[in-house]
């Protein structure tokens, strides 16, 4: 029973990070109908910037807002410089559907090799002051550590702020309107292009925080967030790809699912587990938990 609760707690902590990544993908999908595979690249670049900030500021906690800000700017830049012109150029051509996917892959590669050029491919340590050794209760040490607790708290704070912005501000209303009915929003005076860029910025901020929180548990290298991208995508699919709440719930479900697989089957299956879970979800409930089944779009 103790093992069960421990696994649940650890899963909750990694799930919080998947939620952030999944939220980043869902935000972009909702606003521009693109699955942003460059999200891993944007997150890795902003995490490196956070790493540099930590070297200057000598404080892990202060480096997270720096990474967040960098992530938002990078993501907005990607949208404004590449994705928006691309959408206009490829409109009506046979490659309209696949061009954005390919472009985000290109950006992912671009950022990765750019990061490699600047910082090299070696593993760097981006550490938090918190211990990754588990709490001790009585005589037993559980795997849930102060670092895990910080991850859960950090992710929850960011998610809560996001939720408030979307729910209670004018900007949040515009964001939701622009993704729901772009044409009508434009008619009601919303600058849809600008709002889309802002949506990307929010997504970039979410993935940056995910990168800055997860990296202290492992190491930092140009490819170190690839698995996070895949997990984020699986979480988004579990949540239905459309729903912000779904993204968060999907992340938690996936994190806890992973933790149980690792606990009871073994660490060797991590990479394949994401794929198997994804296939199962797509076969059983392709519209996700919170998604709505829709008919074929002609």
């Amino acid at each position: 029973m103790t093992i069960f609760f421990n696994t649940l707690l650890v899963g909750f902590s990694s799930g919080a990070i998947y939620s952030l990544m999944s939220l980043a993908l869902v935000l972009v999908w909702r606003s521009t109908r693109v699955v942003n595979f460059a999200a891993a690249g944007q997150a890795i670049l902003s995490t490196y910037i956070g790493y540099e900030a930590m070297k200057v500021l000598h404080n892990y906690w202060l480096s997270i807002p720096v990474a967040l800000l960098a992530g938002a700017l990078i993501s907005a830049g990607v949208e404004a410089i590449v994705m928006r012109p691309l959408a206009k150029r490829s409109k009506g051509t046979p490659v309209e559907a696949i061009a954005p996917v390919i472009a985000t892959l290109g950006i992912l590669g671009l950022i990765r090799s750019g990061v490699g050029l600047i910082w090299g491919n070696s593993f760097l340590q981006y550490t938090s002051p918190l211990s990754s050794k588990g709490y001790t209760i009585g005589h037993t040490t559980i795997p849930f550590s102060p670092l895990n607790a910080a991850i859960v708290i950090g992710a929850s704070v960011v998610l809560a702020i996001f939720a408030m912005i979307f729910r209670f501000t004018r900007l949040g209303l515009s964001l939701r309107a622009a993704s729901f009915q772009p044409e009508i929003s434009r008619l009601s005076g919303i600058r849809v292009d600008l709002i889309r860029t802002i949506g990307w910025a929010f997504a970039g901020a979410a993935s940056a925080v995910a990168g800055a929180l997860v990296t202290p548990t492992t190491y930092l290298s140009p490819n170190s967030l690839d698995l996070l991208l895949v997990s984020g995508f699986v979480a988004a699919v579990i949540g239905g790809l459309e729903s912000l709440i779904g993204a968060v719930v999907g992340g938690l479900v996936l994190g806890i699912g992973f933790a149980f697989i690792l606990q009871y089957i073994g660490t060797s299956v991590t990479f394949s587990a994401a794929f198997i879970i994804l296939i199962i979800v797509l076969l059983l409930r392709p519209q996700g938990i919170f998604g709505v089944r829709r008919s074929r779009e002609a």
Binding site: N121, V230, A274
Partner: protein, 322 residues
Amino acid sequence: MKLKSPRARFFISIAIGAVLLFISGRVDELRSYQGAQVAIFAIAISSIVLLTGFSGQISLGHGALMAVGGYSAVLVQSHLNLPYPIAFLIGGAVGGAAGFLLGIAAARLQGPYLAGTTLALAVGIPSLANQFHILGGEQGLTFDIGTAPSWIGKDFSQYRWFFWVSVIAALLNYWLLRNLLSTRYGRRWRAVRANPTAAALAGINVGKAKVLAFTLSSAVAGLAGSLYAMLLGLVAPLAFTLTLSFTLITGAVLAGVSNLGGSIVGAVVLVAIPEISGSITSHLGGSEKVTSNLPGLITSVLLVATVLFAPNGPKWPRRKHQ
């Protein structure tokens, strides 16, 4: 004789092959190696062109399907002692079988779901090698098809032999696909890509057509994978990374996604990039950081620029659509 008839294509392929094989005797080992690489990449890129350009599906996991083909070829060759041409065909067949299973799932998926699923596959499959002892873990398995048969000639170097094998396979593959695409199957795929709803109304079984395209494309990728294993002399998880899958897509985009003949252009560019970046770094005296990342940077810039400025692919001299 019309230039476009299957027979004409067959003879043209033979003529091109003869010229290439003649040239191979005149160049050094490195060029032979690169020539073989171009031929293998051309096969792999043609699998993406078939899938994306003609049936409108996208796959970020073809590197993993190449791994499936490569590992199968190595396993049947080493455990069953089959001759290597059979091993290559089995590599293709197993790749196709994997693609069939994936295609059943893929045909139900659209755009983002398909891209994400195949991405998960690309990350997941190579890591399987660490779980099964028979797959040799991180070190992988060696693959040795031996030297050229003695009747071909004395002093026939190893890479020249690889070049011959790859070029012959590439030409056969090109000839088969080119002809297949001008049959009703090719027409069905194009119809499905252009407008699935209209294709279904015209009596085409859209799901079936998509699964068939996926299966065939995976078989071609599997063949490319087994040839790639031959060229590297081994199969290992590190040879079939996510980067390989992305590289193939770059090649297909540079080829002009729906241009089968362009796949050779894409392959040449992919092989030339490391060469070009090598000469740049040797001129500038770059560090290890630069040498290991510059090729990726050039590839990605090319990919983004092509998609941005020529979303339909570069304007290679284009035939009218049949």
